[in-house]
Symmetry: C2
Subunit: 188 residues, 2 copies
């Protein structure tokens, strides 16, 4: 067992994001990330399976927040308001700074494989949400449609938030996108 390194995970994530931004994702190695963070490769692999996991390691936590919120809401809450509450929980509990999220989006946008991986992550969030809605007794196709529409709202809101100055919180972008989806599907 190596010595415990204070906030090694955060230092590795920050170092990785610096190198992805400076050199590009493809050109960045785990050895380079560890060196930049002043840590060993062995410490890196104690926190992440590979460099891609630095970008996508948060998706398990996102799924837990979404499923936990949906399952815990009162029975009477309808599917789309339930999805709204789940996304609000994500905004409240997902502690990624605007600056970090913005750089992460830029790294992903620049690489086709990472863009595909991001789509797969979003699809896994939608599948998790649909499962949790069915657990709430929502039938099909309502469960899948509410889940997919809700995750589309999250995707749009997150992109708009990262493209913004960061003065307005993510939760405002989520509320605006939910309202816009409602207007658009009503035929407005």
């Amino acid at each position: 067992m190596g010595r415990w390194q204070p906030n090694a995970r955060g230092r590795l994530a920050e170092a990785a994001m610096e190198l992805f931004t400076e050199r590009g994702y493809e050109q960045t190695t785990v050895a380079g990330i560890a060196q930049r963070a002043g840590l060993t490769e062995r410490t890196f692999f104690r926190h992440y399976a590979d460099k891609r996991e630095v970008l996508f390691g948060g998706s398990g936590a996102l799924r837990e927040i979404i499923a936990g919120t949906l399952v815990g809401l009162p029975e009477a809450v309808a599917p789309m308001p339930a999805m709204g509450a789940a996304l609000e929980s994500v905004a409240a509990e997902f502690h990624e700074s605007h600056a970090y999220a913005r750089r992460r989006q830029a790294v992903i946008a620049a690489n086709a494989e990472l863009r595909e991986r991001e789509l797969i992550k979003l699809a896994s969030l939608a599948a998790t949400a649909a499962d949790a809605l069915r657990q709430r007794g929502v039938g099909e196709p309502a469960a899948t449609l509410a889940a997919e529409a809700g995750i589309a709202v999250f995707k749009v809101a997150f992109e708009r938030w990262t493209a913004s100055t960061g003065r307005r919180p993510l939760s405002q972008f989520i509320q605006e996108s939910l309202d816009e989806l409602k207007a658009v599907t009503a035929g407005a």
Copy 2:
């Protein structure tokens, strides 16, 4: 140049689907597909880049139908009704039999890489639709939200159609899913 083979493309697709179903996708080779179809590998590669393209070669045509319909609609048509019209065009113009579509879904459902490829195909349809909506003068985030919600409707409707007996046409499943999305986003 080889001799022209009557309906070689259709025979290769049918042979591929038979083998994917019997042996599994991974275990099927291009040589095996060509042999089953009574054609050469050279003929196969005149029609498809690889065995995966047998399953996904139709996505360019889908994108053209969606974009063509959206761009051609009268200006006054709102974003979500426009998406509905685009999906109706897909149902009317995309000539894949229920039996073929059903087997294709089963092959894709059984393979993680193919499920990912299907997600990426659906995301490309949503991106195409959002582009076409913006060409119609629809702003953001309305264009992306209508496009993503519309493609979610298509995904749900297509899955329900392939899981059905095939007596009801795809267009009915699309209309039902559009109605359900409207109800769900209205908070019902």
